[in-house]
């Protein structure tokens, strides 16, 4: 019999990181759905009621990438804080991308909940 590979201790953690990263793009697009927001507002939205953001530093490069892909556009606006703020806004392509991603997400989440139903029952019994 072959020896089974010993699973890495932080496998669960890695999986969580991957999952989070995969969702971040959709979450950022969703945070811009109602209208333009600047970096800190987007972060505040992501951080309230979710643990999607591990490092705040990942959101700014992501915004710059989304801009490069034409999914968002940006505009500098003077503010009373003394620093201009860079506001991001969804483009038509960004709106479409968010809608597509949302549809995929819903389908995926639906089938996952069905698959996970037995685990819930087990929990209720315990």
């Amino acid at each position: 019999m072959k020896n089974l590979p010993i699973p890495e201790r932080d496998d669960g953690e890695k999986w969580e990181v991957q999952l989070r990263k995969g969702c971040l793009e959709l979450a950022v697009l969703a945070a811009l759905w109602d209208g333009p927001r600047y970096g800190l507002e987007i972060l505040a939205r992501l951080e309230s009621g979710s643990d999607l953001v591990v490092s705040e530093g990942t959101v700014y490069p992501l915004l710059s990438r989304l801009k490069g892909l034409g999914l968002v556009r940006s505009e500098w606006v003077e503010s009373e804080s003394g620093h201009p703020r860079k506001y991001y806004e969804l483009t038509a392509a960004g709106r479409q991308r968010a809608t597509e991603m949302q549809a995929t997400w819903s389908r995926f989440a639906g089938s996952m909940s069905k698959l996970l139903a037995p685990l819930h029952k087990e929990k209720a019994k315990a």
Binding site: L40, S55, G57, T58, Y60, P61, S64, G68, L69, W76
Partner: protein, 201 residues
């Protein structure tokens, strides 16, 4: 520009931004300016709201890691618009200026593109130099077998034998183009892996 509450804090912010600027070299100057302005605003507003400068910087990650994310993102974004080797190489040169990993990927990619280009060229030149272009083999003075790709501008050495004949045309084109495509995929795959690893830290 508002000053941070403590003088030492402001120095730390400037050191952070200075390091970020250095690490971002390779991006267009206008883009570097925008990144710095945005991060500066982020730090200023967070500290103004009562967070400590250390905590704000820790949440942002170190300047090197932040810069790397911008640069690999720039490479991937370019490649998503066009997969031409020029764009990929341009991105790789920027990445290579930042990290050892980027440098290694650049070296391997240069080799891949070079070999691919040589094979395609060989396939094409065979049509123009049917007598002299191709893969030639011969025994040198010391008695060892030499194999050489000849573009056909000079005649092959005396006593040399051609190996592939006309096959060099389709083979050169197919294998050469294949190498070019594979190299692009390899470079993008590396950039993605790298970005993925970075995001998990």
């Amino acid at each position: 520009m508002s000053k941070a509450s403590t003088g030492g804090g402001q120095e730390k912010v400037e050191a952070y931004l200075g390091e970020l600027r250095r690490r971002l070299r390779g991006l267009e100057e206008a883009q570097v300016g925008e990144v710095l302005e945005e991060i500066r605003g982020h730090i200023a507003e967070k500290t103004a709201a009562g967070a400590s400068i250390e905590a704000v910087m820790a949440a942002l990650g170190n300047p090197e890691a932040l810069a790397r994310e911008y640069l690999t993102d720039a490479l991937l974004a370019r490649a998503e618009i066009s997969r031409s080797p020029w764009r990929v190489l341009d991105g790789l040169f920027r990445w290579a200026s930042l990290s050892m990993a980027g440098f290694l990927v650049l070296v391997v990619s240069l080799l891949g593109y070079f070999a691919g280009a040589v094979l395609v060229l060989l396939g094409v030149l065979k049509l123009f130099h049917p007598q002299t272009a191709g893969v030639w083999t011969w025994m040198d003075a010391a008695g060892t077998r030499e194999i050489s790709l000849r573009m056909g501008f000079y005649g092959p050495p005396a006593g040399a034998r051609e190996l592939l004949g006309w096959w060099v045309v389709p083979l050169g084109l197919v294998v050469g183009c294949g190498l070019l495509v594979l190299t692009t995929r390899f470079a993008l795959w590396c950039a993605r892996q790298y970005r993925g690893r970075r995001g998990s830290q």
